[in-house]
Amino acid sequence: MLGSARVMIVGCGDFGSTLASALSRQGFAVVAIDMREDAFDLLDGDFDGEAVTGDGGIVSVLEECGIAHASYLVAATGCEMTNFFIAEVASELYGVEHVLPRVESTALVRLLDDLNASPICPRLICVDEFYRLSGLDAGSVVRS
């Protein structure tokens, strides 16, 4: 059942808070972690999960928040190095099934692919969205 699936979201910025609110509305058990308490102001009023103030880049904090029981781990902090580290911890040390870190660097994306994590790369997503919205064909060459 959806209610038993635990989602841990580290970093409650624009992306993290929007996702946390949406997943909570769907019935997932959400734990949102952020170093700043005021980050949780971004969550919807009807957010029904846990909001924990702490440094998700520290393994003992992740452990206290129940990473061992998470089905999904989203690393959405503003620092891709931290997200990369959290992803490796979640995947390699805690065996979290679905690990989704936000990472821009191509090299780190490649390393994460090898680990069975599913990196979210905003840079590439935005380029894809540009092509979709503009109607341009990414494969065609324009001659003047």
């Binding site: 393994v59 490796e88 040390l93 390393l111």
Partner: protein, 172 residues
């Protein structure tokens, strides 16, 4: 040996000097341009200005096939990324780094970094050892908590790796 020293300030300065003095091939990578100029004036080694957490910078610095990478930035997660990139993308077999959080000594090791060294942990051990020597009764251990750290042995995991590293450098 070929050693890449990434980040750091006084530690990088010291290490580059020692390694170059022993005759090893050293490249220092540092994102602070002014500090790069300082290192360049102090040491006769290749200095590369750039962010060592980026694969492109490590590639341009030509660290492929180096023997050792040492990551000395002030951020544990940056040092972790440097070590993992060096290991998996550039075939550097020995990765060493400093960590600010002693917890990461075990964590980094379990994630495949050769050794993570914490000055704080070394200090705690030194205090513990000197307390044990002077006290008649047994002292409570300065533990680092349960969970992930339950199986941490008495010897910090980095001791063997760093010992090996220094032996290779001929320091005995």
């Amino acid at each position: 040996m070929r050693v890449a020293v990434v980040g750091g300030r006084s530690r990088a300065d010291y290490l580059v000097g020692v390694l170059a003095g022993e005759g090893h091939e050293v490249v220092a990578i540092n994102s602070d341009r002014a500090y790069c100029e300082y290192l360049s004036n102090r040491h006769d080694v290749r200095i590369f200005c750039g962010d060592g957490t980026r694969g492109r910078v490590l590639e341009d610095a030509d660290v492929d096939g180096f023997d050792v990478v040492v990551a000395l930035t002030g951020r544990d997660v940056d040092n972790f990324a440097i070590c993992q990139l060096a290991k998996h993308c550039f075939d550097v077999p020995l990765q060493l780094c400093t960590v600010a959080n002693p917890e990461n000594i075990v964590v980094f090791r379990r994630l495949g970094v050769s050794a993570a060294i914490s000055g704080t942990y070394a200090l705690a051990r030194a205090i513990q050892d000197s307390m044990n020597e002077s006290a008649a009764a047994s002292q409570p251990r300065l533990g680092l908590g349960g969970g992930l750290f339950e199986n941490m042995s008495d010897d910090p995991p980095w001791r063997g790796a760093v010992g090996g590293f220094w032996r290779k450098l001929g320091k005995g």
